[in-house]
């Protein structure tokens, strides 16, 4: 599997990271180096092996389905780059 510039651009888009066109060849080349390394996994016989879901076999704890937190609007917004009138503000989303 080899990644070309178009695939690199597509991955950057999916990851929501702006990559300038002139940086794509180097990025594709790095991807190929890393994926070449990962390809070794194809040597392993994984027939019938379950993919690991949790490294500890413990059952997850359950708790009552109740509200445990809230009324912290100021704290929630305190680190926002742009907060207005009690909301996070973002550029226009809907035309």
């Amino acid at each position: 599997m080899s990644i070309d510039q178009n695939t690199a651009a597509k991955v950057a888009k999916l990851a929501r990271i702006k990559v300038e066109d002139d940086a794509l060849p180097a990025l594709a080349s790095e991807f190929n180096t890393i994926l070449g390394f990962i390809e070794q996994l194809n040597e392993v016989d994984v027939e019938g092996v379950e993919p690991m879901v949790s490294v500890t076999p413990l059952r997850l704890k359950r708790r009552q389905d109740v509200v445990t937190d809230g009324n912290q609007q100021d704290k929630v917004l305190s680190n926002a780059p742009d907060a207005r009138e009690g909301f996070f503000a973002v550029p226009k989303v809907v035309e």
Partner: protein
């Protein structure tokens, strides 16, 4: 007492309880050492006011006879831990200005026990790196040098600031985190001790997430005893982290008898890599001899899937990172890019993340995005998770066969120079974690203990890997190794 900053946790604790020193004295000694060590770039956010306030409170507490183990002991805190009201950036530009409104469970546990925070420590961005060269704060520098050569060396990564600070006696101990070796590799590079506990021992709540199924916090200290003391305080069951285990935390220090007679120590043949430096090979053999002399039985073992641990890691960790780091979108906290006329929300995301994330983080997020994308999920991500199952089974098999602990080198070499790996491809840097990453994939406890110096006078460490939830026994074996190795070297002060 002079040079109070050079004390370890156990010595300082005992001196505090006897009334020979005060926490304010200890804290001032560390603050002075930190002020004089700007060249190491270990502390990136200093909190002297908080430290002195906590120290005074600790002294008052000790005076009333209420002195938990960590009471009054000054620590450095890795920048990955959220600390309430104190900058917590995970070494990243995208979290510039972020001051959490809450405290991580691990730091809260330490503060509840009376510990003192001196400040936040440098690290690789989002803990992605093995040399502390991906930090937005610039490189942390090791206090160690190759003889009289003044070339700057890496303290390792990602907990590079922690390693540098503890090794240079800027603090008594520090917190670290370990996703693929980020406590054990820097500990080995700087001649200190670092333990990553079993996955689930320490709460991950408030620790900025890198790869959630692998991340664990742990202490970085000047001795195995100190690691036992600090780890006990860091561990707890936490309802805020569903993967934290509800299991009693033993008194680890009380388990340090040094008696390892009859213990079976496995030497995994797959860790004898092609091209392993003779010095590392000798260090490893010497370590086995020391444990044998202490009464342990040395057994050759096989962990057949070892070779596939790093490739599996470099699927799983980036996949989880791409998901975890999706939250940095310029909306809720941290950096937001300046937008051009007409830019919409997609441009805001893309520009914010391009400006805020460094190169290595961008690369890993995109690799993770790729291995999770439609059409490749089975070929990469699911296959890696199956290989992870096999790697864990390798360990289960040897432990079921009666092995108590496994001895390996901690790193494939001594510390390298800052900048020396700049031109290497990313995989070369990843090889630093070849001996440590298996432990994260299997969720096991692992400890790095300094046991020797290389020909250039740089520290080298050995790793012991233990059974899950058996940190006490692992620490005791490490204590026996530490006692036998008698490592006392310290870096000469140049900074």
């Amino acid at each position: 007492m002079s040079d109070l900053n050079k004390l370890g946790l156990a010595e300082a604790r005992d001196a505090l309880r006897k009334g020979d020193v005060t926490s304010v004295d200890l804290t001032n000694a560390c603050l002075s050492a930190i002020e004089a060590a700007g060249a190491l770039n270990a502390f990136v956010h200093k909190t002297p006011e908080i430290a002195l306030e906590q120290a005074k409170a600790a002294d008052a507490r000790i005076a009333t006879g209420d002195a938990p183990a960590m009471c009054g002991l000054p620590l450095g805190i890795k920048d990955l831990f959220c600390t309430k009201g104190v900058a917590s950036q995970a070494g990243s530009g995208i979290l510039e200005g972020f001051k959490p409104e809450y405290e991580s469970t691990v730091t809260q546990n330490l503060f509840d026990a009376g510990a003192v925070m001196l400040g936040k420590l440098n690290m690789d961005e989002f803990a992605m790196g093995s040399s502390n060269e991906t930090s937005v704060y610039g490189n942390a520098v090791s206090p160690w040098r190759r003889g009289n050569d003044d070339a700057q060396l890496t303290p390792g990564g990602s907990s590079g600031g922690s390693a540098s600070a503890v090794s240079a006696d800027l603090c008594l101990a520090a917190t670290g985190t370990d996703t693929g070796g980020s406590i054990r590799q820097p500990a080995a590079f700087t001649g200190i001790t670092g333990i990553k506990p079993t996955y689930g021992r320490c709460s991950r709540w408030g620790v900025v997430a890198f790869a959630s199924s692998l991340d664990q916090a742990g202490p970085m200290t000047k001795s195995v005893r100190d690691a036992a003391i600090m780890l006990e305080t860091m561990c707890s069951h936490d309802p805020k982290d569903s993967t934290s285990v509800d299991m009693a935390v033993p008194n680890f220090e009380a388990m340090l008898t040094g008696d390892i007679k009859g213990k079976k120590i496995g030497i995994p043949r797959e860790y004898r890599m092609d091209g392993m430096p003779a010095e590392i090979e000798k260090l490893w053999g010497d370590g086995a001899d020391m444990l044998r002399a202490a009464g342990a039985e040395i057994v050759d073992i096989s962990l057949p899937h070892t070779k596939y641990a790093l490739p599996a890691y470099y699927v799983i960790a980036p996949a989880e990172a791409s998901s975890n780091l999706a939250r940095y979108d310029g909306v809720r906290y941290g950096h937001r890019a300046q937008l051009a006329q007409g830019d919409g929300i997609t441009e805001m995301y893309e520009k914010t993340r391009a400006e805020g994330f460094g190169h290595e983080v961008q690369r890993r997020v995109m690799i993770g995005t790729y291995v999770l994308s439609a059409g490749f999920y089975d070929a990469y991500y699911n296959r890696a998770r199956k290989v992870r199952t096999l790697i864990k089974k390798d360990f289960e098999d040897v432990f079921a066969a009666g092995i108590d602990a496994i001895l390996t080198p901690a790193t494939p070499s001594a510390a390298f120079g800052l900048g020396e790996m700049t031109d290497a491809d990313p995989v070369q840097m990843y090889l630093n974690d070849v001996f440590t990453v298996t432990v994260n994939l299997a969720g096991l406890p692992g400890i790095s203990v300094p046991t020797g110096l290389d020909a250039q006078g740089l520290p080298l460490g050995l790793q012991l890997i233990g059974r899950p939830w058996d940190e006490g026994d692992l620490l005791n074996t490490a204590f026996a190794l530490e006692t036998a190795a008698g490592f006392v070297a310290k870096p000469g002060k140049w900074w």
